[in-house]
Amino acid sequence: MLIRKAPDIAPSEITPESIYRQRRQFMKGLAAGGALLMSGQASALARYALDEEQVRYLGPDWLQQKLRAAQKSSVFSTDEPLAPYEHVTGYNNFYEFGLGKDDPKAYAQNFKTDPWSVEISGEVHKPGTYQLEDILKGVDLEERIYRLRCVEAWSMVIPWVGFPLASLLKRFEPTGNARYVEFTTLHDPKQMPGQRSRFGTIDWPYVEGLRMDEAMHPLTLLAVGVYGDALPPQNGAPLRLVVPWKYGFKSIKSIVGIRFTEQMPVNSWQRTAPREYGFYANVNPSVNHPRWSQSTERRLPSSLFSPNIIDTQPFNGYADQVADLYSGMDLRKWY
């Protein structure tokens, strides 16, 4: 079991759900009041510390200790309101565990994320299979609050904990031929019911890729945590990519392989529907998905009678940092 069982709790000590909920409402009120009092500089931890009653996924002890030591402020973080923990961890596209947004949470809870290893291969001087502990050894974790824009035209603001992908890639010493990085998700139909479905359109395992300069960009994050705790399985535990200026599907989950290549990798969605999904998949309000518009998005969680419709920003609002990676490129062609 990955979620540790609490020591014996007498039934009398368990708070009835109604009272628990009232208390949550009260705490939310406090949190809202607190947020008003605090200046805009308040750290993200303070912004969600009051919500600690939420049941958290904690992950292995060794990782928890590292997560506790994470640096809490980053120049790359946004101060927009966060999507609540329950939605970040309960509303997921992770087709390995099913097509419904609540399937990953429902079917990933027994997913084994520790021990975990990643195979490094291709155009690199130090190939090999590395344990996650070794990958994280000497790495300083930091919190990054990023906008996540899904290709389905919704978005959330999520406090990830991770480290720049660049720092890891450099340790493996890519060769001069390494122009792209290809990532692979675990293929394990026994653990991943979605991979057993015979009516899917995706060829497993899921594959994603980045150009070397995209991979080395300081915004590109390898995440091991969210909301200060370990990534729950449904969010791509134990190691996932976060590329905030690209549609969410680029941010591949539960990575077991990193391969350095000379040729541009063919990512899973491009293989499935090349007319609809390209390699770059940069968030771009002026290039629509062939079936739906990308010019606006609904910021989740949304309430029914005031849908949070906002204009989608080029590169998901990170244009200042990343637009020059694509100067001279026709982004209509390289969608």
């Binding site: 309960g90 509303y91 009516f199 359109t201 079936r291 010019s295 969680p301 949304s302 029914l304 849908p307």
Partner: protein
């Protein structure tokens, strides 16, 4: 069960009770999703859950209304005929609430977005066309209109077949990673329409 329902329909009280049961039962999906929404049980994106749910139920009622003729003939349930109109009208009802849910919960009645969706998105155009075509069928579903139109009534209500195909197309164009559900609805519709062709050309 089948026999008892048939027996039920021999008395006025029985007919009336069963009609009421069907009428209220058909509102159950709407009641259920409304309750879930009020209790905030629909997750981060209740709008999408509601819209998908209502759309699926519109499709189910349309398929059910198309299943009456085959079921009546193959299973000999003559009493089913009485409910064809109700099921057809419920298909329009759920399609209408589905449409209102899209406009309200997803698009916030923003004119620019409504126009954009209705002119640029093939899957929305297909779904909207199906809804529009259902309207004349609903209006002329009464016995009065049936009498007035005579032979032309049947010709007009033949429209339900292109409507079903448009609705299916609307569904197909929404596929992203899995097509099992769409496949099931397609196979059922293929049977329902295929049976009619069989009757015609056997």
């Amino acid at each position: 069960m089948v026999l008892s329902i048939a027996a039920l329909h021999r008395s006025t009280v029985g007919r009336w009770s069963f009609w009421t049961l069907m009428f209220i039962g058909s509102l159950a999906p709407l009641g259920w999703i409304s309750l879930q929404a009020v209790q905030q049980q629909l997750g981060a994106d209740p709008a999408q859950v509601i819209v998908t749910f209502l759309g699926i139920w519109a499709l189910r009622f349309l398929w059910l209304s198309l299943a009456i003729t085959p079921a009546r003939r193959l299973l000999g349930m003559a009493w089913l005929q009485r409910y064809r109109r109700m099921l057809g009208l419920y298909a329009l009802f759920y399609a209408t609430v589905h449409l209102l849910a899209v406009a309200t919960f997803i698009l916030g009645w923003r004119p620019d977005l409504l126009l954009r969706e209705l002119t640029e998105r093939p899957y929305i155009i297909a779904g909207f066309a199906a809804w529009i075509l259902l309207l004349p069928l609903a209006v002329t579903s009464t016995q009065g209109w049936q009498r007035r139109l005579g032979k032309r009534w049947k010709r007009l209500h033949w429209l339900v077949y292109p409507i079903a195909l448009l609705a299916l197309l609307h569904f197909v164009w929404l596929i992203r990673a899995g097509y099992l559900e769409v496949l099931i609805y397609t196979l059922i519709l293929a049977f329902l329409l295929g049976y009619r062709l069989y009757l015609k050309w056997r």
